[in-house]
Amino acid sequence: MPTVNMQTANIFSFHGGIHPPENKTQSLQLPLGRPSLPNELILPLGQHIGQSSRPLVKVGDKVLKGETIAINNGFLSSFLHAPTSGTITAIEERLIAHPSGLSDLCIILTPDGSDTWTKLEPLSHWQDISKTDVLAYLSEMGIIGMGGAGFPTQVKLQGAYKNPLTHFIINAAECEPYITADDMLIREKTLELVLGIEILQHLVQADHVVIGIEDNKPTAIAALRTVLNKRKSKIQVAVVPTKYPSGGEKQLIQLLTGKEVPSGQYPADIGILCQNVGTCVAVHDAITLGKPLISRFTTLTGDALKNPQNVEVLLGTPVAHLLDYAESEPKKLSRLIMGGPMMGYTLDSAAVPIVKTSNCILAASKKELPPPAPEQACIRCGMCEQACPASLLPQQLLWFSKSQEFEKAEHHNLFDCIECGACSYVCPSSIPLVQYYRHTKSSIREAREATVKSDLAKQRFEARKARQDAEAAEKEAKRLARQKATPSKTTDEKKSAPAKAAPTAAAAPATTDESKKLKVDIAIGKSKLKKLEKQLLEAQENEHVEDINSLQLQVTDQEKAIALLEEQLAQMPSATPAAPAVNTAKASTAPVNDELKKAKVDVALIGVKLKKLQKQLIETPDDQELKDKINAFETDLKAAQDTVSRLSATTESHTAASEPKAAASDELKKLKIDAAIAKAAVKKVEKALKKAEEINAPEIEAIRQQLKEAQQRADDLEKALANPEAASQNAEAQTKKADAAPNNVDADAAKKRKIDLAIAKAGIKKAEKNIQLLQEQGKDEAEINASEWPSKLKEAQEKLAALEAEESAPATAVSAPVEKTADTVAQSEVKAEPEMDLATQIKKEKIAVALAKAQINKLNKRLESTPEDADSINQEINATQQRLQRAEALLEKLIHSQTNMQENR
């Protein structure tokens, strides 16, 4: 290939875009400046996306330049280093550069003026060591994406290992007006940039390496070409036409590759990695010079500055110091923006520090950025639509945002909006479109979170209800059994056991009760903690930045609470050493049982975790960390399994000693209930998942995870259920011989079988219905087959057949009257079930009707009060009326069938 070809790349184009005045020349008049050391450096702990770093230093510590002062806190986090030598004077809340204008924890460093470097340890053999080690090194050097988002670079690079990379794109477009920091960086550090790109390319091994740069930086382009030619590099330079927002990651990818990043996915999913030029230079400095990320290039510009220019500035330098350096005129300054005029955010005060992502300080005069004109009505001129780089319909989204029609807004792909501001820029009616979208997006997010929460609450409530129902049924069954048993057995040795234990010291039950309560509290606390930890992990994985901090806080709180409880519990036995030994024989069984359960749960949990890790390992085979984790888990698992076997041995001996049947059957029942609850949960989550898939909600992954876990739980329980069943069957067989009333057991079994049968039939029906639904939706055969339902149908049918066979067998064996009673019981149960269903359904429909009516009333009222929105309200009314009619029709049908059923009885 001729060398000329190597450096040109195909350029595609993207929809929309705007050409705001560039205003880039002001800041390029002066050479790169290096401001003096400020009086103090303010180093926020959260300069990146993800969790804030953890400080390593204490107030009063002396640090050298480049020394680590904070380390990462979790997976999605980064390191922080001292930008100069000096003393840590405080670790406190300070105003930070954030759109919210809030304060955050910062390390305050007072420079000593000597600027002494710590010992630098470059990674000279980066080509020979494993890539994971290089990534870890980058993390320790505090490298994050310097283009704006601040995504930890090692995490981004790790994400790029998912798929083989076709393109490694270096973003040098710098499309925002005013900003020239990247331009200056390329001019000043051309060779470092190219070397940094080469290091990164070594790490990711992409097919093409392309530098995307806008054609308004000829000097930088020439400098790059010279260096690349000299090095005979394969890195291409793609000069793209100047158009905002060509520097947006998605837009630059489209410009350079013609590909689009699928909605809701990352560039890595289509084999593309983007890095900012600043990041590449930082990588070079870290690896070949050993310098951590402690300074950056920042543009100081705006009419309120006498000497607009680019500066290489230490992180943590207060903006006020830079404004002084560039000789700002406070009288002229009306708006202080960090970032560019299109996507930057205003600063309340100049006391905030420069962070790793600050690429520009725009000190604008009133004339330069006048306050926004009053908003006028949208005339749907469509200029926003022509400007939108995401091909959205901004004017429709505005309409939906104003009328809070969230569904429609989502249907019009509101979440694909990148908030570039092009629509607001061109809007002739001065409508702050982006602000409307931000508001709607956050409202939708809030609503989603609320639904997830309410779903969980509902699940919990239903599980509780099911458990209570089951317990009530159990009690009722026991009562019946007692009624039957009392006349036949006058002297029951088994029952005398608790009677003996009863007349013991009065204090003992109280303390045991209390300790039990504490234990329960601890268990609840632990499960809460586990849940929180899971949520935290999820949040970290999905980068819900705002959630992470609050979750972290909750987790620590929970941990504290548990520790407190455990302490209390530990004190408990010492307080009650007088607990009678008489009780221990009986009491010990319970803890052992509990412990056994706990151990089993541990086993199951560890197994799940192990599986997950193994899966991860398959995806990323050379991750040493993962391997270690897996090994640890495997040992844990073994230990847990040992405990289980040990404990079960003890329980067996215990149970053999006292109440073999009762315990077994109790356990069995409890397991069954658990299994039923777990199954219900699985079903619930499945439903949620389906719905989520339909509306394409972003929580799908989380729900899937939930589903998996719920299924796992259900499976575990079923397995557990199968084992004790065998055990209890033995016990039952024994008791049958001894017991006077064996029929009872058989009747129970028959009942169970019947219920199973009913469940199996319902399962078949459901599967069939789903298949039909799929067919109605016009999915073709292949898709239906691909879905789980046919297989489920088959399974259910098989199960049904097996059950029917089973039923016919005992039916002949068991004597006729027994069968009859069993049958009637089962029948009444089966009958009662649909009836109850029907009743609840009717209730539900009635509620729906009432709701719809209420809504219509409300809408009518609204219509009266706000005639401007007449047509949208009318539409809503119509929709509601339709819903009402549907609900009424359904209700009628249901009532009809209910009366039918009652008549049939």
Partner: protein, 352 residues
């Protein structure tokens, strides 16, 4: 130092406000107004004045009743634009009360009662036009002829126009004649060739006068496209559909139909395509939607001209497609970045 706190973006395109858009559209009608005045006398100009005054008064009155800032909304020029579009669409010597009725109805009922600018589902100017067209058919069909064709042999003077509009002008009949579309509509049993050779309205000077009017509006419309105030989609689709319809039927039945050229250069073809159908508020939003919308109007114009009860069909075509615009919008969303295909329709009432 009180710093302004505001979220991004912080800058706006200078100068291009809504009032600027409206002003540009008004300015773009000037070539058409000049040609119309030149051909038909001062009537158009007087109509415009009446229309503008009526529009401003009714807009101000309703805004005052609705307790909205009057000055702020009057300065957006949207009422004036409606008045101008109606003023040039009405016949030059239509009595003043017809103009007043049309404009007042357009502003009060078609625009303000729906919530003012940006909320009207129908094109206000065309609602006003349709109201007077169906209510006062006689004055609405009284078009002046080109001076070389009418019996008076000259255009109306300024005073005569005033008299015709505010009082009555007994000699008005010697100045009026049928428009080409009207003439062709009432050719009755004649075939096209006979009609074009015998009917006065279909003679060269008459046809040419309308050709000039249409060319003038074409120029204004192209200016709007050049200014990026409108996109090419609606006019091109409208004119294309009209061309295809008239071309197809002319090929099929040349003896009873007019040529595509006739259809594109008479009546309000260009005015409708560039100034009426492109009203953003009541038309479709997406580019694909605009194509369908424009084509629908073009087809309806041909249908009404050929088989309907009125000589021209721009007003009814536009109003009918206004009805369809929201539906078309739902089915013509553009494909968003990162999506395989465009979403269509809207699932209403689905519980989730």
């Amino acid at each position: 130092m009180a710093l302004l706190r505001i979220t991004s973006p912080h800058t706006q395109r200078a100068g291009r406000r809504t009032s600027w858009v409206m002003q540009m559209v008004i300015l773009a009608t000037i070539p058409g107004i000049v040609v119309q005045t030149w051909l038909f006398g001062w009537g158009t100009f007087i109509n415009l004045m009446i229309a503008c005054i009526t529009a401003l008064l009714s807009e101000a009155a309703i805004l005052a009743i609705r307790r909205r800032p009057v000055g702020f909304f009057l300065k957006d020029y949207s009422a004036l634009l409606t008045a101008v579009l109606l003023g040039v669409a009405l016949p030059p010597v239509v009595p003043w009360w017809v103009t007043v009725t049309a404009v007042a109805f357009a502003i009060i009922f078609a625009k303000q009662l729906y919530g003012g600018l940006g909320n009207n589902p129908f094109n206000p100017a065309m609602v006003g036009y349709a109201i007077v067209l169906v209510s006062f058919p006689v004055p609405m069909s009284q078009w002046l002829g080109v001076h070389s064709m009418v019996s008076a042999g000259e255009t109306l003077s300024f005073m005569q126009s005033l008299q015709a509009i505010f009082h009555q002008l007994p000699v008005i009949d010697s100045y009026t004649m049928a428009t080409p579309l009207d003439g062709f509509k009432h050719k009755d049993l004649l075939d096209s060739q006979a009609a074009f050779s015998s009917i006065a309205a279909l003679q060269g000077p008459s046809l040419n006068s309308w050709l000039w009017v249409n060319l003038a509006y074409l120029v204004g419309g192209l200016a709007l496209i050049w200014l990026r105030i409108i996109t090419w989609h609606t006019p091109v689709a409208l004119l294309g559909a009209l061309l295809i319809m008239s071309g197809a039927f002319h090929l099929f039945d040349p003896s009873n139909t007019a040529t595509p050229f006739f259809h594109l250069t008479t009546g309000a073809a260009m005015f409708g395509a560039f100034f009426i159908a492109t009203d953003p508020v009541s038309s479709c939003t997406s580019n694909r939607g605009k194509l369908i919308y424009g084509a629908g109007i073009g087809i309806l114009i041909y249908i009404i001209r050929s088989w309907g009860g009125y000589p021209d069909g721009v007003a009814f075509g536009v109003l009918l497609m206004n009805f369809a615009a929201p539906l078309i919008d739902y089915y013509t969303q553009p494909r968003t970045y990162g999506h395989k295909k465009a979403k269509t329709g809207l699932k209403v009432g689905e519980d989730n």
